[in-house]
């Protein structure tokens, strides 16, 4: 997640990580990790073991995924919405009810 300020939660935090910031802290499901006030993305990164990389020249930070465990923390497919060739969003959830093989490829 690209962020240009650290004093507020990244807008797409929940969509990308499943974690959301609530009064009780960073929460995912029934688990909440307390966060100090005022909010600081660097604290969030430290407590959730996410890398926070800084590009000083451009005034940008990037927050990486959680570390210290497995790449997948659950076998449930995360909520993923991606555009098709014409820019129309497609929710993978819409394929529920059928078996799916998802093949990742690239033009390169």
């Amino acid at each position: 997640m690209i962020v240009d300020r650290l004093d507020q939660p990244p807008a797409d935090l929940e969509q990308r990580t499943g974690w959301s910031v609530k009064p009780e802290g960073a929460c995912r499901g029934e688990v909440c990790v307390p966060l100090p006030a005022p909010f600081d993305t660097a604290e969030l990164a430290t407590r959730l073991r996410m890398a926070l990389v800084h590009d000083e020249q451009h005034g940008l930070w990037a927050l990486g995924p959680e570390s210290g465990g497995h790449t997948l923390t659950s076998a449930e497919l995360p909520e993923i919405v991606l555009p098709d060739r014409n820019g129309r969003d497609f929710e993978l959830r819409s394929l529920r009810g059928t078996k799916v093989i998802m093949v990742a490829w690239a033009s390169w």
């Binding site: 997640m1 690209i2 990308r16 073991r49 996410m50 890398a51 926070l52 990389v53 590009d55 020249q57 451009h58 940008l60 990037a62 927050l63 990486g64 995924p65 959680e66 570390s67 210290g68 465990g69 497995h70 790449t71 997948l72 923390t73 659950s74 076998a75 449930e76 497919l77 995360p78 993923i80 991606l82 555009p83 098709d84 060739r85 014409n86 820019g87 497609f90 993978l92 959830r93 394929l95 529920r96 009810g97 059928t98 078996k99 799916v100 093989i101 998802m102 093949v103 990742a104 490829w105 690239a106 033009s107 390169w108």
Partner: protein, 212 residues
Amino acid sequence: MTVALDTGGAEAAGPWIDRAKATHPSLIDSAHVLDELLGVVNVPSGVWIDEHGTIVRPPEPAFPWRPRQPSEELLAQLPPIAAEQLREAQKIKIEPERYLDALHDWVKHGAGSRYALSPDEVIIRSGGRDIRDSQAAASFELAQHLQRSGDPGDAARWFKEAHRLQPDNWTYKRQAWSLADPLQGPTDTYESDWLTEVRKLGPENYYPPVRL
């Protein structure tokens, strides 16, 4: 369904989708979200998802068939670097027959298929993610952001950082190399290139064996 991992978005992947005339959902992941969410580190990678939205096999090499061997006549018409790459690619070990047999078995038997993994096994097979992997993902995202913002020079700096932090992630490398040279040959931007790296690793080790 297919997902193109392409920083170049529809401009890069769209013509291939058009040419394939695919009737299945054909999506484009210009932010490489699947890399981060599911741990895709090379292509082609297949993920099996059951009717309930549960992953029953995490990303693994997924060739639908054995690519045709290019003729010497065809190779002679290609740029020398592309011909060399294709010759080396012939040595890459893939197992499309076993993979397709397993896929058909799952389609027929569902959860009863021995190839459908338990949720715990899916998580274990997804591999570990340490702080360097997280730093690599963040660096790669910064690189993509700068690339899209029209700053390929600074983007390359962060692409290289992602390569240094997670050297076995071919998606990070191939995406970056292709932005400097569509053929992923040697450039002044990067210290290495696809052919050099594959030869260093050994083409037989390019894809991990599929554990069926």
